[in-house]
Amino acid sequence: MPDIGGDPLFVLEFGDILHYYTPYTITLFLLALIFTGLAIASRPERQIDIAFGGDAYYAKETTVSEMRFRRFMAIACGLATLGAMGSGDLFNFTLFVSLVGIANIGIVAAVKNRHVLDAAYEYGIVAMVATLPLFGGAALVVATTGTLAIPALAAGGFAVPLVAKAFLALGVIGEGMAPFYAAKAEMFRAPGAPYVIMCSLSSLLIFLRVVEIVITI
């Protein structure tokens, strides 16, 4: 069992796949849970904009249908993050991560704002392309070691190639858009607070998790 996040507290047996929770991943899991709860419970903010050239201002309203859809996507994103936090299997992890990427696009895709949609489009392309290094990394791991189970890999005795780790990290970076901040900053102009926050939360969390995985395996 991996121990860099502390000793595992809880192991969920799920067929040939284990879900395990160390103090580290359970912290991440709980935070994802809390923010998903907030996304469900909160009403969206009404963003105030100042009319240019005067002292007039107006509040942007989020329509009900848009709010429903974005809330649905935020919840999907939260659930995918929850899955990625506990997964003890590399392939499952990559699947959850790509689900996070798609749900992130969904959260902003409903916004009717050209700048936001432009940024979301660029982000979407990167999120799609990033599945290649992501699954490629998992495939390299299984080809060179014959197993995908993180606890088994962590137990040692396997030589996981460095490039597989690099691919995994790069894939997660692409899905979560972590260091390529430009598009994410544009996307955050979208009104409706609790939903956009899920974009950033999920990408940070999957990034934190992949750091643990890469150090462990």
Binding site: A80, L99, A143, F167, A182, A183
Partner: protein, 151 residues
């Protein structure tokens, strides 16, 4: 102009995003190519030695007796005691097709009792669930955007 300002001007434009990511992918791939060859681990879920192009089940034939058992390498055999059984899970109709024609391998995923789905459900349960969730989410986004056009 400082070099730092130049770099940040490139980074801050989200139109350059795809190019930057592609660049990162190329660099990592080059490292990967330089680190070749990587050793291949033979000891995997299905034995790779028994592939038989003449079988009606090709390329899904992984050995084993229909309605009997077969050996599947599991990570946690104690959690999935029935894993071996499903490799040979075929309906009688499929078995008939497999024995008499060469086509079952091409239709295998699309008909009830398809081997691959069954193997996945039994050995790697969450995979199939998450894969379909990804598709479902993508469809949900597409249909929402399509219906918004009509408003």
């Amino acid at each position: 102009m400082l070099i730092i300002t130049r770099i940040s001007r490139v980074l801050s434009n989200f139109q350059n995003l795809v190019a930057l990511f592609a660049g990162a992918c190329i660099i990592v791939s080059l490292i990967g190519i330089l680190s070749l060859p990587l050793a291949f681990e033979e000891n995997q879920l299905y034995p790779k030695t028994r592939l038989d192009p003449t079988s009606g089940l090709y390329p899904y034939d992984r050995g084993g007796v229909p309605f009997g058992t077969t050996e599947v390498i599991c990570q946690y055999p104690e959690n999935s005691p029935y894993a071996g059984y499903v490799t040979t899970y075929l309906t009688p109709l499929s078995l008939f097709l497999a024995e008499n024609t060469l086509y079952i391998g091409t239709t295998i995923v699309a008909h009830p009792g398809g081997i691959i789905d069954e193997i996945l459900y039994n050995t790697r349960g969450a995979d199939t669930v998450v894969e379909t969730s990804i598709l479902f989410t993508a469809f949900a986004i597409a249909s929402y955007l399509y219906r918004r056009e009509e408003e």
